[in-house]
Point group: C2
Chain length 390, copies 2
């Protein structure tokens, strides 16, 4: 393996395990800061491997590959949360500087561990339980009612690993599978919520933390389609409450780097924590164009233990819309139309092949008229997807 070319002037190398779009979107900020990026990617055609010169091809589950990769880096962080515990342990034993640290990361990898720890810290969560069999599930439903939400404790994302069931029969297949493997499931009450919010925090090893404005996330089929920054009509009190919850989690779990707390806003004017992501997050993509410091620059600063930048919004509103894969594999020709229609539009595509429903990019637009911004972002995303042709 050749070493990453480190810029002169004493600049460090930040290694990212995983070559997806989150690693890719660190490339621009790293270039500006003069920091060298190195990526461990599964495939040379991975999103980040296309744009980062120091891309090492290897699996995040291959202890030897990950250790060799990490030796060339001053700090190692993550594109995703799927690095196995034994790999993390080996890196720690090697003295690799990891952010977030494995002790923190475990709570984003394992939703049962997360629920246990947050509940112990009095962080508001939906009612939940660990279930081993149908008797456990019935007991939970007796207390909290049907339907309930079943989750696999590890490995889920974008709505995968989540199942809403109306009765024990609906959970049959999942229960059989998990029982067969000697595992357990997480069950949660199905929360009746007003909307979904997300709080994005950056926290450095020294303990400095910054919080971007609380955003509203709009989901379709378990996938985030749109983010409104800041969350419209959110009371100052509830925004502060949401931020307090996120900062409590950050401090409790000793999180380092950027992390996201997805929350439900309840009708009673309270929030409960839905999910954690211990990395830059889709709910923060708006910040690349809409905040003084975008989440990818901030993540680099945080894992390097540099002072954090201002997370303040640069416009009254920024709207982000995800571009999902449609039927059309050709994307570039849509540029002529969407750019001509909206000179203020910011387009971000990830260099990924189109697969239906796959997140392949996003657009943002900032300004003063929220309704207009939403329509413009939606139109551009739909047009690039190929869902509309005018």
């Amino acid at each position: 393996m050749t070493s990453p070319r480190r810029a002169p002037g004493g600049f460090p190398v930040v290694g990212i395990i995983g070559g997806g779009q989150l690693a890719r979107m660190c490339a621009g900020p790293a270039t500006e800061l003069g920091v060298t990026l190195s990526v461990l990617a599964a495939d040379p055609w991975d999103s980040a491997a296309l744009v980062v010169p120091s891309s090492v091809i290897g699996s995040h589950t291959d202890v030897d590959a990950v250790r060799a990769f990490a030796r060339e880096c001053d700090v190692v962080t993550f594109d995703h949360e799927h690095v196995p515990a034994e790999v993390l342990t080996a890196l720690e034993a090697d003295g690799v500087v990891l952010h977030p640290r494995p002790d923190a990361l475990r709570h984003a990898q394992d939703k049962l561990a997360m629920r246990r720890r947050l509940t112990a810290a009095a962080v508001p969560c939906p009612a939940w339980a660990e279930v081993r069999d149908s008797a456990d599930l019935e007991r939970f439903a007796d207390a909290h009612g049907w339907p309930v939400v079943l989750k696999t404790p590890t490995g889920g994302y974008d709505g995968k690993g989540v199942l809403v069931v109306d009765d024990v029969a609906g959970a049959g297949e999942w229960l059989t599978r998990v029982t067969g493997e000697g595992g357990t499931l997480l069950v949660e009450e199905k929360v009746t919520f007003e909307r979904e919010l997300a709080v994005l925090v950056a926290r450095s090893p020294s303990g400095q933390a910054t919080v971007w404005p609380v955003v509203e996330t709009v989901q379709r089929d378990g996938i985030c389609t749109e983010v409104l920054a800041p969350a419209p009509g959110l009371s100052e009190a509830l925004a502060q409450r949401a931020i307090d919850v996120a900062l409590t989690i950050a401090a409790t779990l000793d999180v380092t780097g950027v992390f996201a707390v997805e929350m439900f806003e309840l009708p009673a004017g309270e929030v409960v924590v839905n999910e954690l992501a211990m990395r830059p997050h889709n709910s923060g993509h708006w910040s690349m164009d809409g905040a003084v410091t975008g989440q990818f620059e901030q993540h680099l600063r945080a894992v390097l233990d540099l002072p954090l930048g201002s997370p303040a919004a640069r416009s009254p509103w920024t709207v982000m819309a995800n571009v999902l894969g449609g039927d059309d594999e050709e994307l570039y020709s849509s540029y002529r139309h969407v750019m001509a229609r909206d000179p203020e539009l910011k387009v971000h595509l990830y260099g990924k092949a189109v697969r239906p429903g796959r997140k392949i990019g996003h657009v943002t637009v900032s300004g003063e008229d929220l309704g207009g911004l939403r329509a413009r972002a939606r139109h551009a995303a739909d047009y690039i997807e190929g869902a509309i042709r005018e």
Copy 2:
């Protein structure tokens, strides 16, 4: 030579001849747009070669190397203006799409050609003449007075190739050298000006043009140290006049891509054209952070003949200060101080080794209080340079 890895979805490859910081600063925007960048760099440690995976090492004066490089690109553009005419001619003969085109580029390469063409187009210029010997020079000074400004028609930048002389004796060495080579010099009147302005234009092959707000550039020893966007106190009429002059040049020379017109503001409320740069330009670095569309994204859009983005400012004021090399080769340790002192500061370093006076980076800061912004940008640049330590 391996081909650049082109992202799926029909995205083009933009080739840049030259691996300096202007090519480097295209990398972030290219990543966001999904466009593949390929750079022909003289050295693997060149500023852009450090961050662009598809970096080919070769000289811009080597016809075969440049032709092989260009074959892999859909459009070729430039980091600098030093590509020889014979190389450009060979590329044109190969059918390579070049932006700016050689016919236009010649006017940024050759200051005599530029003065002739602008004067023919009635663009306001200082009085000028071509001089072959001391008699030519005396004749010019008789008409326009001493001191005068001597310029080598080709190859100058950042104050190099420019000499202010008080009499014929002062021009002796330059005249001897140029006469010995059978060449000529450009002489210009030494303009008494209020300040220096710059107008940055983007123009696409289809003829669409956008103009960023007119900026004031502050120079020290012929090197730009600071840019104020927009130019403070500039009347609307004179701003419009400066923009008209720049757009006239763009159309006259059929410029494509981003280009800059450096002007003197005269006491009489007129402008005259000082220099042209037919590429992204130091006077436009503020736009990366301060405008809806930064100059590097816009340059990519222009050379690809995509619709141009809005050049509108995002804040009342943005100040850019160049970071020049000082005595200290170590740069990174200054980050802790400047970032802690000013969380709104945007730092851009180019991965270049420190040499005294060399442009190695820049900082920007945006907001409402111009005086405060100038002090903050100056402080940060001076601190990173090592000129101050508090």
